[in-house]
């Protein structure tokens, strides 16, 4: 015979297991439908300290679909590559602000920016940048043009730019803007001029 205390323990465990399975059955759909609280992946403050420098950020404006040159004073390191990275970070920080004129998805971060000789830049963004970006030809184009032009206008001798997502090539940003090829800086400059001219 099984001792009484074991019988009681077994009965309690049985009841608990059955109760839990019934509860799990009922909440299964509810759990699937409950939105998961987004992880707070807001970028940290720029790690660079020291003297600031005046740069020009090319900021997309959703209301009229233009790029606007906006002077900014940001800490800038001496290295060319680090400077390019800080420019990208400054622009993304501006877009993540609640009063941003061009909203991009929360959690967007610049993973790194590499300079590749001769005249190449690779901008590596995190997955949230593409996954949470709004879809549309113009809205995606504004982001791409703004990011590339901000870096290349403040960093001389850049001829071509590639945007990666999580270190990998992606077909498009959010269904429209092509990310599969290198951007020609001359063409982006021309586009930036068109976009700065207004509607």
């Amino acid at each position: 015979m099984i001792p009484r205390h074991l019988q009681i323990a077994l009965a309690v465990l049985l009841a608990a297991a059955l109760g839990l399975s019934i509860y799990a059955w009922h909440v299964r759909k509810t759990v699937a439908a409950t939105p998961v609280a987004p992880v707070d992946t807001r970028p940290l403050a720029p790690p660079v300290t020291g003297p600031t420098e005046k740069v020009v950020l090319y900021v997309a404006q959703d209301d009229d679909g233009t790029l606007r040159a906006q002077p900014a004073q940001i800490p800038m390191p001496s290295g060319r590559q680090q400077r390019a990275e800080e420019l990208a970070r400054a622009l993304i920080s501006l877009y993540l602000d609640k009063n941003s004129p061009h909203v991009i998805g929360a959690g967007t971060e610049v993973r790194s920016v590499f300079l590749v000789d001769p005249g190449g830049v690779v901008i590596d963004m995190n997955g949230a940048f593409a996954d949470s970006h709004r879809s549309g030809v113009l809205v995606e184009e504004l982001t791409v043009a703004s990011l590339i032009h901000t870096i290349t206008a403040n960093t001389p001798n850049i001829l071509r730019v590639k945007i990666l997502i999580d270190g990998k090539e992606r077909e498009t940003l959010a269904g429209h803007a092509d990310l599969s090829s290198f951007y020609e800086v001359a063409a982006v400059d021309q586009l930036a001029s068109q976009l700065q001219a207004g509607p």
Binding site: W25, R28, G65, S135, V137, L138, E184
Partner: protein, 496 residues
């Protein structure tokens, strides 16, 4: 008893007690595992697809006592005035002027005073009356006063004479074409996989032919089969070559045609074939011909591309509005506007089908269309944007052959002229316009004049992009501009 035996065999005290705990522990783990399997293996929610003259819709199927049940109110609500009243275990249903009485747990019901067999117990839950799925066959004809056909195994219910029939015939062209004719317009989802093309009809009351398998005696497309499951009908075409489906006759015909095999050398583009779907040419080793032979006559003057489609929804403009649906409506409207101006036009994606970007460019290039127009829609901003290609860095040109990624290079000038004309015509209609280059595929792969048009609402309401009058305002402007450039576009030459 097993535990007792253990105690006797293993001797006193501690060992037997440990064995009992192990036994209890193992039982609990087994129970928890069984529960986990039970929960994870729960079947997906089933739906009954209902087709009627009034509406096509679906209602959830629930499981009671191991059988499929549906709520009578849910089935009848889209068809007319319906109400249910609970009185203890009794439930009274009223549909228009018909009254039916049900009793919880009873196998029979009364419809207009006459007995009806439910084939199972009636279930009353939260004032909702649930009947076995099979009972609809006997109940609905009495309640609705008309014929009803229930396909119980595939969860499809046909109310009245709503069925869509189809026939299939093989046209022995080269390449062969399999043409499906439907008795009503259809808009299936089309999926291509090696060896088969599947057309899934979820919204259409499609019914199968007398024999579920049709054979054609073609090596490229030997057979097609019809099947039903989970509220859908599926037509599967067996293929031994890559195929592509195209729509015509206002959605009443679907043509499945073999696509020509990709060329492996830098050969010139062949003259355009005489059929729409055969007019394709794969990118040859990632290169496209730089020059179109001057003698080539366009089969279609304009190729209108409804961007996105199938699994690619594009932007979700609102909770109910997808970009792929807006672009299709815009494309059809533009085709009508162009054709009314005497311009032969083909819509590349005339259904909700997946169509890769390369295929879109291949079609336009092989057709030697005088103008390629890609259509997009957006909720952000306002007005209309007209785009030309922004070419990527570098090219891999070899002699007379252009790199696939910069194939548009020699055609940028006529493309920009067209974009300017379209923007001008839109401005004349007081529409806000932006005219810029864009890194937008497949514009850069087109060997001919090519533009893209993105339509956004004029105000804050994204649904305006689906409004027929707004769409016509935009498409008539585009068509007028194209018509004004007809001679220039017809004689456009590449400009290296």
């Amino acid at each position: 008893m097993a535990a007792g035996t253990h105690r006797r065999d293993r001797g006193p005290g501690t060992n037997s007690s440990r064995s009992d705990w192990r036994y209890a522990g193992a039982t609990c783990i087994a129970l928890i595992l069984a529960s986990a399997i039970l929960v994870s293996g729960a079947p997906a929610e089933k739906h009954l697809s209902v087709y009627s003259v009034a509406a096509n819709y679906s209602v959830p199927i629930v499981q009671r006592e191991g059988r499929d049940y549906v709520g009578l109110l849910e089935v009848l609500e889209p068809l007319g005035r319906v109400s249910g009243k609970t009185d203890g275990t009794r439930w009274r249903l009223r549909y228009n002027n018909v009254e039916a009485n049900f009793t919880a747990g009873a196998n029979r019901a009364q419809v207009m005073g006459r007995d009806a067999d439910l084939g199972g117990k009636f279930v009353l839950e939260n004032k909702r009356g649930l009947v076995p799925l099979g009972a609809l066959n006997s109940l609905l004809p009495r309640i609705l006063g008309g014929p009803v056909a229930l396909h119980e195994l595939s969860d499809r219910l046909f109310i009245g004479s709503v069925a869509t029939h189809f026939t299939a015939s093989l046209a022995s062209d080269d390449p062969p074409r399999l043409v499906f004719h439907f008795s009503a317009p259809v808009n299936p989802s089309i999926a291509n996989e090696p060896g088969a093309l599947h057309m899934t009809f979820r919204r259409e009351p499609l019914v199968g032919p007398a024999s579920p398998t049709l054979t054609f005696g073609s090596k490229a497309m030997p057979s097609a089969s019809y099947s039903e499951s989970n509220g859908s009908a599926v037509v599967t075409v067996k293929t031994s070559v890559p195929v592509m489906a195209s729509f015509s006759n206002d959605g009443r015909s679907i043509t499945v045609a073999a696509t020509p095999a990709p060329q492996t050398g830098a050969a010139p583009t062949p003259a355009p074939p005489s059929t729409q779907t055969a007019a394709q040419n794969a990118p040859a080793a990632n290169a496209a011909p730089a020059n179109v032979p001057p003698a080539a006559v366009p089969h279609y003057f304009a190729v209108v591309d409804a961007s996105h489609g199938g699994d690619d929804h594009g932007e979700s403009l609102s909770s109910t509005l997808l970009e792929k649906d807006v672009t299709l409506a815009l494309a059809r409207s533009l085709r009508q506007e162009l054709q009314s101006r005497g311009i032969s036009t083909v819509v590349l994606r005339d259904s909700d089908a997946n169509l890769p970007l390369d295929q879109r460019a291949i079609f336009a290039n092989a057709d030697h269309a005088a103008i390629y127009i890609a259509l997009h829609a957006a909720s952000s901003g306002h007005g209309v944007r007209v785009f030309t290609a922004m070419l990527p860095f570098g090219s891999d040109d070899h002699g007379p052959f252009r790199s696939w990624t910069t194939a548009q290079h020699d055609w940028l000038s006529p493309s920009q002229s067209t974009a300017n004309a379209v923007a001008g015509e839109l401005q004349k209609r007081q529409l806000p316009v932006k005219n810029v280059a864009a890194p937008l595929r497949p514009l850069n792969n087109i060997t001919g004049p090519a533009i893209a048009v993105e339509v956004a609402p004029q105000g804050a309401d994204a649904n305006q992009v689906m409004a027929p009058d707004y769409q016509q305002l935009v498409t008539s402007a585009v068509a007028t501009a194209i018509a004004s450039l007809r001679d220039q576009l017809a004689g456009a030459q590449p400009q290296p």
